[in-house]
Subunit: 415 residues, 2 copies
């Protein structure tokens, strides 16, 4: 592991000074290699998906392993990344100090990234391309179920790098599914500058607890939407539908709906009758339960205290009636994972108070929580969504894979 990390660190030295065209050339060559080997990739991948299905892994999980129908999109994304502006080299600040020192704050690559992800093999291509574009070396560790697919993707990447001006060692891949290697990786703080976990809460927790390298935690979104008494209820319904049902398995999907008591009586039945046909089931607090008096079963359950701290990742929705904006904020403060929170309101004061008080990566006024995403934020690419507060908060695009360096110049200047 250490040897592998040292090779990545060595490569990062030439990547740091690589020109934009050189980096783009490498990305386009990689796209070409993937295109030329489409058949082989899909066949290797297909075998792994079948094997996973046989071992009894869920359909949803197996689907995430598959590249079928997705490879074209992956190649297209690669070409899109090549076209994105290169953030490296940007002068962020320029200061002429009274001392005579001319100071520049310049955007530079971070160095070596460690990325630990789970099933999806498209992450291998995504991460490699974003790392190369930003002049970073990377060490990748994918899921064991797609080891063969990832190996092949990496072989094609190495082929592309060999034909390119970039160092072949720029992207390292851990090709043994041994978990102890991850533990080793997380301690290499002299070689690796940043760890990005991509996966569930337990993977993030594992990294935080074991890493001596800074970890970008995130991905877990317990997201709330509060419908204030002043909200336009007609317009609120589609926002709730979008936040909950557009893509329920992702981190920016809605988990808990908070309703102001003044509108609950009329509005809650409409919410239920709109969402039920879409397959949504509900966890109701006592007040909404009493208001609806539903039949307990698959669709309606009484909410347990732990339900408010659950990221559903499915078509389940918690619903709670609150007395006031204050109570809504307190509920969010208590249960939010700091990802995405939204208020629907026509009251400007309430909107401002919500935005000021709620501590999350993204806070919305009259918009769906689903917007928290590199693409929707116009970043052109996304490697992760951070719910911690240092370096990057929210969607992490190309800029967020860079750091800066101070450059001071004088005429043989002393302090």
């Amino acid at each position: 592991m250490k040897y592998l990390a040292q090779k990545a660190k060595e490569a990062s030295k030439s990547l740091r000074i690589a020109r934009t065209e050189e980096k783009n050339t490498a990305l386009l060559l990689f796209a070409e290699e993937l295109e030329n080997s489409t058949k082989e990739i899909l066949s290797v991948n297909q075998q792994e998906v079948e094997k996973a299905a046989k071992t009894g892994l869920s359909l949803g999980f197996c689907d995430r392993l598959s590249l079928k129908g997705r490879l074209e999109g992956i190649v297209e994304d690669l070409r899109k990344v090549a076209k994105l502006p290169d953030p490296v080299g940007e002068i962020l600040e320029e200061i002429h100090l009274p001392s005579g020192l001319k100071l520049q704050k310049k955007r530079v690559p971070i160095g070596v990234l460690g990325v630990i992800y789970e099933s999806r093999p498209n992450v291998t291509v995504d991460v490699a391309s974003l790392a190369l574009k930003t002049g970073n070396a990377a060490i990748l560790r994918g899921g064991k179920e797609t080891l063969a697919t990832n190996r092949l993707l990496i072989t094609l990447l190495k082929k592309a790098l060999e034909r390119s001006p970039l160092p072949v060692e720029a992207i390292q891949f851990i090709d043994r599914p041994d978990r102890s290697l991850v533990l080793e990786l997380l301690k290499l703080d002299r070689e690796i500058d940043m760890i990005i976990p991509r996966g569930g809460a337990s993977l993030h927790r594992f990294c935080v607890e074991n890493s001596t390298i800074p970890v970008i935690t995130g991905g877990v979104g317990i997201c709330h939407l509060f419908v204030d008494e002043s909200a336009d209820l007609e317009k609120s319904l589609p926002v709730i539908v979008n936040a909950k049902t557009d893509r329920p398995s992702v981190c920016n999907a809605l988990d808990t709906l908070l309703l102001h008591k003044e509108i609950a009586e009329n509005f809650l039945p409409r919410v239920i009758s709109t969402l039920t046909p879409l397959g949504v089931s509900f966890r109701l607090d006592t007040r909404s339960w009493d208001l609806l008096s539903p039949q307990e079963g698959e669709i309606f359950k009484k909410a347990a205290p732990s339900d408010w701290a659950t990221e559903w990742l499915s078509l389940t929705l918690g619903i709670r009636i609150v007395d006031s904006l204050e109570e809504a904020i307190t509920h969010i403060e208590t249960h939010s994972s700091g990802h995405s929170e939204s208020i629907l309101t026509n009251n400007r004061e309430h909107a401002n108070l919500f935005v000021e008080r709620v501590d999350a990566a993204a806070v919305y006024i009259n918009a769906s929580t689903r917007f928290t995403d590199g693409g929707a934020f116009g970043m052109g690419a996304e490697i992760a969504v951070s719910t911690q507060k240092l370096h990057v908060r929210g969607p992490m695009g190309l800029k967020e894979l860079t750091t800066y360096k101070w450059i001071g110049e004088g005429d043989y200047l002393i302090r």
Copy 2:
């Protein structure tokens, strides 16, 4: 510890929305309290300094404990911080997306800072003031030798906070010198957002190895200055003198001087004859040793391999002669701690190459390494110098004690 951290987190909620005037009022009240209790502070501090001296601690160390002659400056700095612009609330970006989403990236406080420092009690006041100014709560842990002084400073701060609009619990102080409490602190990642160690390399290492909270490492500077063959030697001498002798005990002081072979024969004797009367002693590589043929003793020693990886923090200077800019860069790559590196040259290409290739928080062309400092960079205040690459690199002022929040607004907008 957890209870204390929870109180800080609770306080951070009202600090987050405190207005600039409220924060400044608290700082000015604190300054007032310190002034009114000058006698008492100095007396308590004097007793601790004497006690430390009796236990045989070094003069330099005891001097760092003392507030004598420094309290006025500390109070003045407090008033200066009150006058600095408040970074919180700044709109960093504003984007109108094609989707109709109006997106703002707004600067906000981080939340709760954990600051672990050693002897100097002035850090207690510094850190408290910078945290309050930026709307952050903080948990402080000072050195055991100044426990009574720190306790008194914190009592005065609490008095000031009681009279101010800010919450009294905003600044928490760990008033037991038990190291296991630090270990506990470092694991409270649900309450604390950032750890700033201020002290030697071992404290930084301890935090990195034990913390589940992001740590801003830094403070350790193995700094190099390379005199290129094209350098103006007349002008180079004062820069070397400044970098080495101006304040040898700080992290931006020069540790290793690299000389291009073409200028070494003439220039090295001048360096030696200039620095020796200033009390500097030398660790010479073989080539400089052979060139000078000095008498081995207190002033001249042959450099051991480990000397190149030593932060001297004293009037010792390593000297090495190199064949080329390339060899200088390689030496720096191998031994730099990523703090401050400088080239003296009249060759623009060499200057650019040095700046591009050397990976450090601050890289200088024709300037002393001593400039790496919040004050010298015009930040108005400094809480630490970071040598890691995430969130902040180099001097850490007020802005670096903030994060951002995305605020999205739409007209009941869906994705």
